[in-house]
Symmetry: C2
Subunit: 230 residues, 2 copies
Amino acid sequence: MAERAFLPHLAYDSVVFGFSGDELKILIMEYHNTGLFALPGGFVGSNEDLDLAVRRGLAERTGLSDIYLEQFHAFGSMARYKPEVMATILQANGHNPERDFPWMLDRFITIAYYALINYKDVVPKPDALSDSCRWYPVKELPKLILDHEGIVEKAVLTLRENLDRKLVGGNLLPQRFTMKELQHVYEAILDTKLRRTTFQRAMLATGRLKRHDKQYSGKAHKAPYLYSFT
Amino acid sequence: MAERAFLPHLAYDSVVFGFSGDELKILIMEYHNTGLFALPGGFVGSNEDLDLAVRRGLAERTGLSDIYLEQFHAFGSMARYKPEVMATILQANGHNPERDFPWMLDRFITIAYYALINYKDVVPKPDALSDSCRWYPVKELPKLILDHEGIVEKAVLTLRENLDRKLVGGNLLPQRFTMKELQHVYEAILDTKLRRTTFQRAMLATGRLKRHDKQYSGKAHKAPYLYSFT
DNA sequence: TATTATTGTTACAAAATGAGACAATAATGA
DNA sequence: TCATTATTGTCTCATTTTGTAACAATAATA
């Protein structure tokens, strides 16, 4: 068999979470002239670590290296095999799918990751096939291709389960943040209101928060401390 | 490209947990004339659901269908690519690897599952390349090929995390079991002693246990109830 | 019929959590 | 200057959950 750049039949998709306006958002791509929306994804180089392939793709789309990334599921049902979707996307970009990219019409098993990033650090960049790469609130997603909506759903569920266990909430905020900001992140992820005092006590009890200087907001009230995770 | 039976570069491995003699055990295969031990695994048919491929392989090895199965991680580093291992196994079985099975020398990404089964229901069966398929205590495994020891370790950690959250302990026991048996399963998985009364209270509080008739053991003491999960 | 080992339940202490009160600010504005 | 306002950090107390031990109820045995 000839050398090939990527492993056949294998892809990854990434659910990139950001936090802005007290909402949990994710990056969604739109393909040129199709009205089709999808998770940002990519392929794995024939001699490339799976994890590194995902980091590479994320770096290209967000400009960020060194981001919090976690693999959560591989999706491999036959039900997700719909070659006509990829054919539509390729045709809309002026390609002849069967002639130019026959391997993209194959069946794919995708390994899904979620990433947590500081919203303000990111300038989303689309790829060659895509029109745009934009933030959408998790609660107001457009219709996505294939099983991507199910992938997002599982990502959110996994993130919820890992929130307390791995204390990952801070990865959606700048290095230093107030207790209220952290609480809003938790509330957005869990989709529920939390009690301020109980939350503060629980967070401090983890022993993972370092307290820094106060943040003076210019508002007429006590200034909150800034915290960071250790 | 010619039709092929299996997706290239993709495999699955299964960590099959059983419980016997108050120990947590897993199924390990030994390859003919090599002294090499490995997790039971297999390949995914070109038109086969990933999950069903794993169930098919498990059914062949355990004789069981309808078992508790959970995917927990895909392993895809380049460090796990050691074609000489598979070459050794094929040669020991009288094959010429390069000529007969060149694709088995390729790089593989493996998707790992763990299964929980009732030890007594299983008669392990090796496959064509294997000598034996036997139970080994998790704490006394032989040296395994490639990254299979890391796969087992991650399986155990995942099982521990899921134990309370998904109440999966009962899948390692017969349909009906005593509270003491269930406690022993928990103790084996968590590798720690539990307090009898606290455990009993917590289990009953889940509301997922149904109480059946008593089990008379012939011993000189009160007979325990049998329970099943709903 | 007393003894033994084990089980299911209860009782009480200790710890964790829920819910509110309260004092301590930063700015504002009379 | 000094009361006012909004928010923060902490404390208090009630409630719930958990840790620990005691106790009563068995099945078989001697």
